[in-house]
Symmetry: C2
Subunit: 472 residues, 2 copies
């Protein structure tokens, strides 16, 4: 009587589209724009390329079906990034949980789902395929594929494809998705998202062409780029039994000690030897022995002890890529014309073996309108987060700071920016709108905002003293 | 240079365990208990069986590895439900996105992930397999399997299995998962979860045995059960292009009109004929023609028009299973010994073709301690929701009600219960802790709470008058 069956992961995210941020046509249009833009930025600034990104949203009256609440739009995003290799296009855009970002590196993408969730929604609401044009860097060809996703099998189905010799030196990718949306409701969020992206990436040229014909153009104002993030090895504090099994299976090391030094970051020869001795393991044993039957408990013990050993160096963070205090201040000035700005980039910390850097900025006064609570701008891996503010750990911190201590009385003209850069941002959901309350991150956000707020306090008390002097 | 690869859905939820509610050992222990209990209740009350559920959590010092922060526990849940068929045990517990609840019916489970997420976490933190004992109803055998999940392939791997002839008439399932947890931090939440489950299910006998040897026993106080939920056909207001394709592919109907009547709920012969005429489709055409090449736009148009047509009857709701006003009042009295209780079960509504019923209850005064804000008890498909309160649509509604209008001045001894029963509860995440702000649901919660609050207002104003009379 019970009907047991499997569901493909494509079917799962099509059926439960709200989990991926596609709860309604307004959110879907927003999510489609951001998934494409985040992929475009990952394909450029992560690789040291000065980004040139064009976002075009146009209405599709030719697909109208007479239902006024079901407006269709085509969203096209074009970038000058590394492109997608010909053999990877179909899976990258047509297979859920397929990605080049399943590595330990700070990128905007991390799940291998983003663009596919948009393709699935477009398919379900319009029947239209996604169109991809890719000119991979270093290839003499340009490739075009129109495809949709076979949901039962989680496989791409190519409807049309072509290739031609490239003229000129353009490299990059262009993606077009057609979906049911609601531009009138999504407009302000989409415009805000693009503006907040541009404001912290002044090295990027971003253009948004809207269905009403309005063009938002953010030309680059500097050619200086932050150093790109780099891939890292896992840190022992983040390892679990399954990961350890994988590492042992794939390692070329012939002793347990060599494996620790080769396969992990922050483990030197001496530390590895000390650790193994204290943990009660033979440094010279062949690590593959731990995979043998009956050694399950030894393996679990090794994972536990790696996670708990205090003398491994903290995870390296020189491969993270923060926004930087200068760019935060410049961006806040550009957005708000405040009378005061401050910013800080904190030292790196880690949670569960994942390094992270918290940055904070404050803008006060000037052209900012007073409000009853701080205006919070959240960012994670350089992505602006616009929804689910009240659920975010940053809001928890910023709303509970006693701003009176810093000379701020609400209503007040106060803007707070919080950025978290990490090899793994602990989002609450695959829609990437809010961040979990990880204790290490929460306390770093508090420390960062308070550090900048102290600068504001100095400014505000000096301003008050000068006002007093004037009055006399 | 970019490394493209696929990830299995098992690997995905192991790596991103926080998405499934396994963010840390405390949450993981809680989530494991609730996933098993929810499966046990789905296997009993959904099938008209008076539930008998035993939950045992015991510490595993034999698995200790010397790290004090890494305590291991075995969670065992046993029920007298329908059991799991022998051929289904391995996939049900060892394959992510495998379920018997992928149908249109009000059940606690819906994703086909719950128990597997717990198995993955147990495996990753202890290396221990899950143990399942199943005595399927109507079978003369009892089956035992110990298995773990091959993450790369998302397949169960059976380590040990046995079967024996059943003695006696017991049917049901027993599941044991061993994982790293934190009982001291999880204790109060787990106890609260069990108590809040028992309080709205007085027909269930639930026992919780804790690692400290404390036993919480909730014997049933009635044999009267609410009618079990039933499976329904899809409603046209919830259909999309992909679903419509599936329906057309599988239908035995030979005309489009017959297909609408057979495959959907709330579509009668006359309504189907009227709809097709107004939508511009030939009622007598073979529906399979819509799948032919070149008919993509026709198919998308049909989906749009089905979703928008106002004259389909509302979705049936006689197959939903609310708690009921009596049980809500009894439960609130038992929990709080208040001086006043009220409850309402609203008429059914629908969002996107999914029927839902909102129920609300209020308890006031008596033994309830005054608090600065309402104490909110949230439920969805009879599951107590304990985490992420501030993100829940119910909190949004209850915290914004002007309680002064009802005679309630904070601090006040006020408890509010909200329950949403639906064939699809729109959770914000697969961890099932909070509900999205679906407009139809939000307005129903508001209407329900206000309805019960009006009863409270009558009581409080009468109480005030009597107090005045007394004073004179
Ligand atoms: N504009 C682009 N340029 C180059 N490669 C791209 C582009 N868009 C997508 N890709 C490739 O397709 C892959 C899949 O993209 P998708 O958005 O589905 O997942 P992701 O970005 O890896 O993770 P997430 O789900 O978090 O977005 C990417 O990992 C990348 O390799
Ligand atoms: N105690 C049980 N008795 C009977 N069947 C069970 C039991 N536990 C699990 N099952 C079966 O195993 C399947 C998988 O359970 P699982 O918890 O992974 O998913 P689900 O309950 O269907 O959905 P969700 O992910 O929302 O919990 C269930 O659909 C059910 O068929
Ligand atoms: Mg992406
Ligand atoms: Mg379940």
């Amino acid at each position: 009587k019970e009907k047991y069956r499997e569901m493909s992961v494509a079917e799962f995210f099509a059926k439960n589209k709200e989990l991926a941020g596609f709860a309604n046509p307004t959110r879907a249009l927003y999510q489609t724009v951001r998934e494409l833009v985040e992929n475009a930025l990952d394909a450029t600034d992560t690789h040291g390329i000065l980004p040139e990104i064009l976002v075009e949203i146009r209405e599709r009256p030719d697909l109208a079906t007479g239902e006024s609440r079901a407006s269709k739009y085509t969203v096209t995003v074009e970038d000058n990034g590394i492109g997608v290799p010909a053999t990877e296009i179909a899976n990258a855009f047509g297979k859920v949980l397929y990605s080049s970002k399943y590595v330990i590196r700070q990128t905007r993408g991390m799940y291998g789902l983003g663009v596919k969730a948009a393709v699935l929604y477009g398919q379900a609401t319009t029947g239209q395929p996604v169109e991809v044009v890719s000119a991979p860097m270093g290839s003499p060809y340009v490739y075009m594929k129109k495809l949709y996703i076979d949901m039962k099998r989680n496989e791409p189905v190519i409807l049309e494809e072509a290739q031609w010799r490239r003229r000129g030196r353009w490299h990059g990718t262009r993606v077009s998705i057609t979906l049911q949306g609601d531009w009138s409701r999504a407009r302000s969020r989409i415009v805000e998202y693009i503006q907040r992206t541009a404001v912290i990436a002044p090295y990027a040229t971003i253009t948004l062409i809207t269905p009403d014909g309005v063009v938002y153009h953010y030309p680059r104002t500097t050619r200086k780029m932050p150093r790109p993030p780099r891939e890292a090895k896992p840190h022992p504090h983040g390892v679990d039994v399954e990961q350890l099994k994988m590492i042992i299976m794939n390692t070329k090391a012939e002793t347990l000690k060599d494996m620790l030094v080769m396969e992990f970051q922050s483990v030197g020869e001496k530390t590895a030897a000390d650790f193994l001795r204290e943990a009660g393991f033979d440094a010279s044993m062949n690590p593959k022995k731990l995979l043998e039957k009956g050694n399950g408990k030894r393996l679990a013990a090794l994972a536990d002890k790696l996670r708990a050993y205090p003398r491994f160096r903290a995870p390296r963070s020189d491969y993270l890529s923060p926004i930087g205090e200068d760019l935060i201040r410049i961006g806040l000035r550009r957005m708000f014309s405040p009378e005061w700005v401050g910013a800080v980039t904190r030292s790196p910390r880690a949670y569960e073996g994942h390094p992270f850097i918290v940055e904070a900025g404050i803008a006060y006064g000037g052209a900012i309108k007073p409000r009853d609570e701080p205006l919070l701008l959240r960012y994670a891996n350089k992505i602006p987060l616009l929804y689910e503010e009240r659920e975010d750990v940053a809001w928890k911190v910023v709303s509970r700071i006693n701003w009176k201590l810093y000379g701020v009385d609400f209503p007040a003209p106060l803007v707070v920016l919080v950025h978290i850069a990490s090899t793994k941002v602990p989002y609450k959901g695959v829609g990437k709108e809010s961040i979990s309350e990880v204790p290490e991150i929460e306390s770093e956000i508090r420390a960062a905002v308070q550090e900048v707020a102290r600068g504001l306090r100095v400014y505000l008390s000096r301003k008050r003293r000068e006002a007093e002097v004037k009055r006399r």
